[in-house]
Amino acid sequence: MATELGPTPVKKPASGGPEIHHAPKGVGEDNVIASQGKWASWLLAPTIIALAVVIVYPIISAIVMSFQADAGLDPATGLFTEGGPAGFSNYVNWIAQQCSSPDGGTVACPPGTLGSQFWSATATTFFFTVVTVALETVLGFWMAMIMARTFKGRSLVRAAVLVPWAIPTAVTAKLWLFIFAFEGIANKLFNTTILWTGSEWPAKWAVIIADVWKTTPFMALLILAGLQMIPAEVYEAAKVDGATAWQRFRMITLPLVKPALMVAILFRTLDALRMFDLPYILTGGANNTTTLSILVINQIRQGFNVAAALSTITFIIIFLVAFIFVRFLGANVVEQQTGASKGKK
């Protein structure tokens, strides 16, 4: 966003030119560029190596593992033996929900196996993502609008809004666990006897409420950054032209804050798709609150290679979502921007 909106309204002279930094001396130009290229690759090397070690290697090794069978038990000795290559069977275990039957073939995974939970976990993950991100966007926008105004005690409000975001998620989850306990504050306050963590929809809403409480500030902060990029003169001009508050919001605030908003939503969506600690602590995954990440962690305890297949699937799902965001929603933003700049010319 900084490249997008930063230079245009606020800084007056900076738009002057990108070429002022190293005044070229004509003769030595090629040498300078060549040595700079060398320098650049040397300077970049540590970063690239670090990325290769901590990102590329684990991903590749996870994919390799996902095609290996987990260790099986040798009935004679009672000891585990190496599983050997598995082909796509680990993926079939999840996507087709086929478990190996005792007589050697495969059967539909019975309830009580992790394999039987893949599609329900996927649905739960997307349900949580859509609902929480939608709520957080609306509430975050509202909070950002308030924080963007100048009023007495604004810095206090800003600090207070950030408190939930500053609390570690595990602590948040424990906090809400106490609130949603049968004898907890929620039931006392509303005089109800709901088993918040003991039945399906209350459990889902408990997770959603806790997540919205925790991450709305993050959303608000990113949107606030976008709001502050909008120059006040635009609003003043609109006012002079007689635009109503709603028109100002719809025609000025929304389009100008949209790039920041899209990044905020993208971040939150990717974040929500890997939701783990909140439902894990709050409900333990009971009552259909098992997300894909919880499923991965549970499977790691039962077999690494099958878990590697699931984390690869999760990786692909999240990547697809991110791709769709950038390709379609992001493209939309781009068109509007170019359209606007054409108009200016």
């Binding site: 039957s101 039962q302 984390s311």
Partner: protein, 428 residues
């Protein structure tokens, strides 16, 4: 185009970061070596410094003990490697170090439910022949829990069993059987409190409670060969007891959210007539200021079909790594952990239930820990939780099916047969 250029790397970086966290756990899982016969035969006479690995030493029992050992064995000193207090993390830490064949994890403390898994992976030194341990005088269920396929793989270190707490002021004679206890629920109704609760939230505690219900009525989760055996009338009768009690309201509906602490709190607040829980409740319920049951706390063995029920067994054993270089010293240390003196120290200092039968009748100990006689009955009748290398899959199968059954959302027959099938497809 600017926005596109900006968003793409951001998105890619985000996705990579996510997948990284997903992969981190799997990274070390490449090599699971079966057998380990060579390692198990090596270094049997090795002597020298060793390391003892255990979860967080909350009641400060391990350090004084090791100091005492070190004073007596200046050339074979023990170093204490303390893990976190989270069981899952302790488990994963041990797995990683065994996979890396870390020779510095000489003696490790293993939860009773991990023993079979570690033994089947070939990580624990079999305690037989030259490495045999004198097990006379130890409670049999603790030895069963530390054995796999008939071989002892770890030295029982501490034990634990379920106790039925009851209200002495309301119940004149404690119930001996489940039916007797259900009969007494009219007392609770008259007082407008809940009758019975255990731990029925969907977590490890549910496995403990469901297995107890099944074992107490003559059923079993796994047979002697480690195969599931849940399609039986006995198992059905056992699980059905919990289902029926929940449907009748004898188990209050909020008990479906109870873990150990919630159920203890409810009992201490005077909201329950009977509570199934571990021995740790005794101290808290009799000393905490807010406890309403301080002077009326009764304890007895879990109720079964015709007599005491079958408690699930808790506790830890001390195993020796096959990769240890100093196994002779490690064996001496295992013996040291199970001496009468050490066991007594564990009991008095850390409230850990001893594994030696005779300590349960020790007057001095009973005066300090009045629940010991009841706990002895409990542990003597205890059945280890399913001893299987596939424990994570088995406990998952039990939890996922017992939970909807107790809530009345799934028929008992279907729940048991799904447990059976789930365990069958996953233990191979």
């Amino acid at each position: 185009m600017k926005t596109r250029n900006y968003l793409l790397p951001v998105a890619a970086a985000g996705v990579l970061a996510l997948s990284l966290s997903a992969c981190a756990g799997g990274g070390g899982g490449g090599g699971t070596t079966g057998g380990g016969g060579g390692d198990a035969a090596a270094n049997l006479d090795g002597r020298g410094p060793i390391t003892y690995v255990q979860g967080k030493d909350n009641s400060n029992v391990v350090r004084p003990l090791i100091e005492k050992w070190n004073a007596a064995h200046p050339n074979e000193k023990v170093t204490f490697k303390e893990q976190t207090d989270q069981a899952d993390q302790q488990h994963d830490d041990l797995v990683q170090n065994f996979q890396a064949k870390n020779a510095n994890y000489d003696v490790v403390s293993v939860d009773v439910v991990w023993t079979a898994e570690f033994a089947a992976k070939g990580w624990l030194q079999p305690l037989k022949d030259k490495m045999a341990l004198d097990t006379s005088g130890m409670l049999k269920p603790t030895l069963d829990a530390a054995s796999y396929k008939g071989t002892l793989y770890a030295a029982p270190e501490s034990s634990d069993g379920g106790i039925l707490y009851y209200r002495k002021d309301l119940v004149p004679t404690p119930p001996k059987t489940w039916d007797e206890m259900m009969g007494m629920c009219s007392i609770a109704k008259a007082k407008n409190i809940g009758c019975y609760a255990g731990q029925f939230s969907k977590y490890e505690g549910l496995t403990v409670n469901a297995s107890e219900a099944i074992n107490s009525f003559g059923g079993s989760v796994l047979d002697k060969d480690g195969k599931p055996s849940l399609n039986t009338e006995e198992a059905k009768a056992g699980l059905n007891n919990l289902v029926k009690a929940y449907a009748d309201g004898n188990i209050p509906k909020e008990a479906i959210t109870y873990k150990e602490e919630e159920s203890r709190q409810a009992f201490q607040d005077g909201k329950l007539l009977f509570l199934r829980n571990w021995p740790y409740v005794y101290n808290l319920a009799t000393t905490e200021g807010s406890s309403k049951v301080k002077n009326v706390l009764g304890m007895t063995a879990l109720p079964g079909k015709d007599g005491p029920g079958a408690s699930s067994l808790g506790g830890h054993s001390a195993g020796m790594s096959v990769y240890s270089k100093n196994k002779a010293t490690a064996l001496d240390f295992l013996k040291f952990l199970t001496t009468e003196e050490t066991q007594k120290f564990f009991a008095t200092q850390g409230s850990l239930a001893p594994v030696l039968t005779k300590l349960y009748d020790d007057k001095e100990l009973v005066a300090k820990l009045p629940y010991l006689p009841v706990l002895k009955t409990s542990i003597e009748n205890a059945v280890p939780r399913p001893v299987t290398p596939f424990y994570p899959a088995v406990t998952k199968a039990i939890q996922d099916n017992a939970y909807p059954a107790i809530k009345g959302e799934k028929a008992v027959d279907a729940a048991l047969s799904d447990m059976q099938k789930s365990i069958e497809t996953q233990s191979k």
